[in-house]
């Protein structure tokens, strides 16, 4: 509804242009950025923009330079909750605040994910290694006189042996698997790789409203009888928790006032739902009080206690809240001696000023300085806890002046608004979600910095931060919240305003004035940081500052204002229930239950992925040495080829595949959430230590096992190891049928080929066997396998599968001819076993030393 050219018109939102005068009433969505010129109790919900959970009053006065702060602006796409008003359209479409956020969101990208960087790094390393080894072998074999073709074949063989074929499958399997697991824990993963990113996260920038808190105002404290009491809370089962005061005396009066002086009510009779979750009409504070009253009155037993109580005091008249009076009052019948009761609530100092007495246990007492002091202290205390405080007062109207049926007039007040009896204060807060505190603690013990970035006020933010232990209690906090001008130039930690403390609270207005270096200094030096009153671009700025600091940043948020930061973050996490569609679109992951605690699971899962990938790569790489050394020995020492290309393929693409993938299913080690997040610069997925350990330790052991089998078979058939040196040329000569063994027997080519085949099979089988040992040790990086257990059923079946597969390869008639294998005797198959045991024992000792001496030389050399 707009007024254009002096005429009322009903037009569609798209057709609204600059300069239109729009008429807005409650229930509308603001069609553009509008400057308010006329307001009647106009309240808007800006929570999607700023994260403030309370409705905000809009009025024509300009109160601030910042359009998001000032009271005379209504933003495009926000909801009008109450009142009516008029305003002039000053921005439309993409030019609105909301439109600009959308534009920023679409512009920023977070760049490649850590895991894809790691994989790229891994490919580069393994490519280089494979290329160097293969080309060296090629050159050596060319020098030693092989023809080009067979040298090329060997080069390809070595190349194939070096490339871990199963790794792509493993990566995909572990990512998909985890995404599925996370889905069960109410995390929807939009981008597969995001799962791992969460594991490498070192900083979580969390929005407050709706993520850390419930986004539901709740009565936290009340002040009556001169004391602050903690309010009873609603437990998960709908029963009150904690001990409540008996609803009598001064407290009873306070509760009567709180129950009656309200325009709020429950929407439906859904009494089977816990009180906290019931839907209400009216604004957040009123709903909070209503729920509290219901809780106190019903004690979780009698439903609809408030409604029944109110029926005893029918409402005669009410004066709604307005910004000039700063209170609301209503008059009810049902007082003692058929009198009327006037109940009133509003801004505490205002209500106190209207009162002359105060209700105590000994009846009303006149308000003196002492009481005023007490009041001020309570008010400051509650406010300091970030709570929103309301004052309550009542007056029992004398029945002789106001007999039953008296006509109260709202326009020309014919009732007293002074000399009231002050009852007390009720304070409310948007409390932290249950479990958030634990989750934050878990994150912190996992070395992850949790930073609060909110659009809410610094005091509220700080209070919540303290409650969930983002800021420790009793710690010195540097406050950067005054609206003073920052000193010119850069500030450094420990100088000027940046005091040497652990914690800091930064106001958005200040953030705007800080130089980039100052922000970097804040980000790098304070461990407990709260950013309050931040704008969407500032959230982005904060994320970028942390990323500059080398952190991997996760951002959680639900509002439109979070979208750019969500997009920029290494991993953006949106809220599934409270989240706006824009934020969900920008995010990589969605918490379906809006619970911050799910992030901890995510972090754990992400770390498991990284760990398991490491293990899988270590497992797969190890067999390369056993696969390459036969070729090297063939070329360099002239041994008849101990292992064929085919056998290599059977290992890499056959028996190794399932176990490698099964490592993705491996359970976490017990220290996974106790170590700091990895440093993206040095803690690579594949590092020199992993390659060295896999190749030079376990790989060499595996190769010795293979050669042992090879020589064993050769010995059994008459070729002693010392006679095999340099035998290659005679052995490979197709026309030579008289190659003598160590016993003087002469072998024709066909028999030699058969013998070599069984050597290949033997080498293959012993590799399979030592890979068993390797699989056992790859299960853990630090723990003993005894503590880790054998609960990974995928792996256990994988182990059996390797045996079954090798039996099929070696013993299926027809197939073994195609695969160039031969059936082996039982004794031959057992040669690899002592080596498998050796590998296992060796690694258990190594891990034991690592556990005993973390950071020692063994750790530095071999911990991958």
């Amino acid at each position: 509804m707009v007024i254009r050219d002096g005429q009322y018109r009903d037009i569609r939102v798209e057709e609204v242009v600059l300069g239109d005068l729009v008429c807005i009433s409650f229930g509308d969505k603001v069609p553009a950025d509008v400057r308010v010129i006329e307001s009647k109790g106009l309240k808007v919900d800006n929570s999607s923009l700023t994260g403030e959970s309370e409705p905000l009053l809009r009025a024509p006065e300009c109160t601030h330079d910042n359009p998001l702060e000032t009271k005379n602006m209504m933003m495009f796409s926000t909801n009008v909750l109450e009142g009516t008003g008029r305003g002039i359209v000053i921005r439309t479409g993409d030019n609105t605040v909301m439109g600009r956020i959308a534009a920023i969101t679409s512009q920023v990208t977070s760049g490649p994910t850590p895991i894809s960087l790691e994989i790229r790094h891994f490919i580069r390393i393994i490519g280089t290694v494979a290329f160097i080894v293969a080309s060296t072998c090629f050159i050596v074999s060319m020098i030693s006189g092989s023809d080009l073709l067979s040298a090329l074949v060997f080069m390809m063989g070595i190349f194939v042996a070096n490339v871990p074929e199963g790794i792509t499958a493993t990566v995909t399997a572990s990512l998909t698997l985890t995404a599925k697991k996370m889905r069960k824990k109410h995390c929807l993963v939009k981008k597969l790789e995001a799962v791992e990113t969460l594991g490498s996260t070192s900083t979580i920038c969390s929005d407050k409203t709706g993520t850390l808190t419930q986004n539901r105002m709740t009565v936290a404290h009340f002040w009556a009888r001169g004391e602050i009491f903690e309010a009873v809370m609603c437990g998960e089962d709908g029963k009150p928790t904690g001990r409540g005061l008996p609803v009598t005396g001064a407290y009873g009066d306070l509760m009567r006032c709180a129950t009656l002086c309200s325009r709020s009510d429950f929407k439906e009779d859904d009494t089977d739902v816990p009180v906290q979750k019931r839907e209400t009409v009216g604004d957040a504070s009123e709903a909070a009080i209503l729920k509290y009253c219901e809780l106190v009155r019903s004690q979780g037993v009698t439903p609809n206690a408030v409604r029944e109580y109110r029926e005893g005091y029918p409402k005669v008249m009410e004066q709604p809240f307005n910004s000039i009076n700063k209170y609301q009052l209503s008059i009810h019948t049902g007082g003692p001696n058929n009198s009327h009761i006037l109940v009133l609530k509003g801004a505490p100092e205002r209500v106190l000023a209207m009162s002359t007495t105060m209700s105590t246990e000994e009846g009303p007492k006149p308000i003196d300085d002492n009481i005023r002091k007490q009041f001020q202290k309570a008010y400051d205390d509650l406010g300091g806890m970030g709570e929103r405080v309301l004052g309550f007062a009542e007056l029992i109207l004398p029945p002789d002046q106001f007999p039953p049926g008296f006509a109260f007039d709202l326009e020309n007040p014919n009732y007293p608004t002074a000399g009231l009896n002050f009852l007390g204060l009720i304070s409310m807060i948007d409390p932290p979600r249950p479990g958030v505190r634990m989750a934050v603690h878990l994150c912190q013990s996992a070395g992850i910095k949790v930073v609060m970035v909110t659009g809410d006020h610094p005091i509220t933010a700080q209070a919540i931060a303290k409650q969930v232990h983002i800021i420790d209690n009793g710690i010195d906090v540097t406050l950067l919240i005054d609206d003073t001008d920052a000193p010119a130039g850069e500030e450094l930690y420990g100088t000027g305003r940046l005091k040497k403390t652990e914690a800091i609270v930064v106001h958005g207005e200040q953030l705007k004035k800080l130089s980039e270096t100052t922000l970097d200094s804040i980000v790098a030096n304070y461990h407990q940081v709260v950013f309050a009153r931040t704008s969407p671009t500032q959230k982005l700025q904060i994320v970028e500052a942390y990323q500059r600091n080398g952190q991997i940043v996760a951002v959680t948020g639900d509002g439109v204002n979070d979208a750019p930061a969500l997009r920029k973050a290494d991993i953006g996490i949106a809220m599934g229930i409270a989240g706006t569609d824009v934020s969900k679109q920008a995010a990589d992951m969605i918490l379906l239950n809006d619970n911050f605690a799910s992030i901890v699971t995510g972090v754990e899962e992400g770390r498991i992925i990284f760990d398991n990938l490491k293990k899988s790569i270590a497992y797969v790489l190890t067999s390369n040495i056993g696969e390459v050394t036969p070729f090297i020995s063939y070329v360099v020492f002239g041994l008849p080829l101990p292992m064929s290309l085919m056998s290599i393929l059977l290992i890499d693409m056959g028996t190794d595949l399932w176990p490698a993938i099964s490592l993705a299913y491996e359970l976490p080690e017990n220290d996974i959430m106790e170590r700091p997040p990895r440093d993206a610069k040095i803690d690579k997925l594949v590092n020199a230590r992993l390659i060295l350990f896999s190749y030079m330790h376990i790989g060499v052991m595996q190769a010795t096992a293979g050669f042992c089998t090879y020589f064993f078979i050769m010995m059994q058939n008459g070729f002693m190891p010392w006679d095999l040196w340099g035998l290659r040329e005679q052995w490979d000569n197709k026309d030579l049928d008289t190659v003598a063994d160590s016993f003087g027997q002469e072998w024709c080519y066909e028999s030699r080929r058969q013998l070599l085949r069984s050597c290949h099979s033997g080498f293959f089988l012993s590799m399979v066997m030592v890979q068993w040992g390797d699989l056992f040790i790859s299960k853990t990086r630090k723990n003993s396998m005894v503590t880790q257990g054998m609960n990974n059923m995928v792996m256990n079946t994988g182990m059996i599968s390797t045996v079954v597969l090798s039996c099929i390869f070696l013993y299926t008639p027809g197939l073994y001819n195609i695969l160039a294998q031969t059936p082996l005797r039982m004794t031959t198959t057992m040669v690899g076993l002592p080596f498998a045991v050796l590998i296992y024992m060796y690694d258990e000792v190594r891990k034991c030393i690592i556990r005993r001496h973390p950071g020692g030389i063994v750790y530095r050399l071999t911990n991958y």
Binding site: H441, G718, N733, Q745, F835
Partner: protein, 303 residues
């Protein structure tokens, strides 16, 4: 619990390749200090020494389970089997991929390598240490039971000398009538089994003698069969059976026979296939058991 207070150790990186190679600031070369390099070297030396010891130990244990006279697997049902292949000499080690015997009658240098090779091959028969004269029915069949006292039968080259295949005559190469040595692969435990009198193969019927392994050479293809001409076998009945079975002893004399190609065509390549005949020798073209292929090429043109 402090928020992320668990500080990481300060890590100093190598910046770029140059610093990786040698970092003056940290005194590292290839990312390690000299002390670290020393430690790592010592570690690997000890590690590999122990590993090698384990490996050698395993092999030694396996070795200990073996007999030093016979391999674990030989004879029927093993890879080497019981069907011997046939070998020929002179086969030049210098040219291992070729089975061609090619020489020019006008050029003594051209057959010298073959003569040298045969000289070398036959020289082992000149060593008669530890052997005995086997006359009449005396043979090697009890050798295995004799154990370390075994004295294998002595093989004499006298027959070859008589037939014109002596070293002095340069094994017939000079005349263009080359003698080629044929042998059966040594297989422990293998002895020839005689044919029944009426089932002796046609090719060797005229010269077959019980207890021996008769030999027959012919052209591989029909064209070669026309060209090959007359062949003489020395001794006539082939390889003598009294030297079987083979056992692993010092100076075992492997029995051989020679075939002399009397009328080889000049300047023509002849593909020859020689087969050995006994009841327990099967001929298999693909695995080349019981037979051998080689080529002869005699030139007489001036080069």
């Amino acid at each position: 619990m402090a928020n992320g207070r668990a500080k990481k150790e300060e890590v100093d990186y190598d910046h770029g390749w140059k610093e990786f190679l040698y970092n003056k600031r940290r005194g590292t070369c290839l990312g390690r200090t000299s002390k670290s390099w020393f430690q790592i070297t010592v570690f690997y030396i000890i590690f590999y020494a122990l590993l090698a010891a384990f490996w050698v130990g395993c092999l030694a244990i396996f070795l200990g389970t073996l007999d030093d006279k016979v391999p674990r697997f030989y004879g029927k049902g093993t890879i080497i089997g019981i069907n011997p292949g046939v070998g020929y000499q002179p086969w030049l080690k210098e040219n291992p991929d070729s089975t061609l015997i090619k020489f020019n009658l006008k050029n003594p240098e051209s057959w010298k390598p073959y003569v040298d090779q045969l000289d070398g091959y036959l020289s082992k028969y000149k060593n008669t240490n530890g052997t005995r004269e086997c006359v009449g029915d005396d043979n090697n069949s009890n050798l295995l039971a004799d154990g370390s006292a075994a004295r294998p039968c002595r093989f004499s080259l006298a027959d070859f000398d008589k037939a014109g295949c002596s070293a002095a005559k340069q094994y017939g190469f000079k005349e263009g009538k080359p003698c080629v040595v044929l042998s059966l692969n040594r297989l422990i435990g293998w002895s020839p089994v005689d044919f029944a009198p009426n089932s002796v193969p046609e090719q060797v019927r005229d010269r077959y003698k019980n207890g021996s392994i008769a030999l027959h050479c012919d052209g591989t293809t029909n064209v070669d069969k026309e060209h090959i001409g007359k062949t003489t076998y020395v001794p006539k009945e082939g390889i003598s059976g009294k030297f079987y079975p083979y056992i692993f002893v010092d100076n075992y004399h492997q029995p051989i026979a020679m075939v002399r190609f009397e009328t080889l065509p000049r300047n023509k390549l002849v593909l020859v296939e020689c087969r050995a005949y006994a009841l327990n020798i099967e001929h298999d073209i693909t695995s080349r058991l019981g037979l051998v292929h080689f080529e002869l090429f005699v030139q007489d043109k001036k080069e």
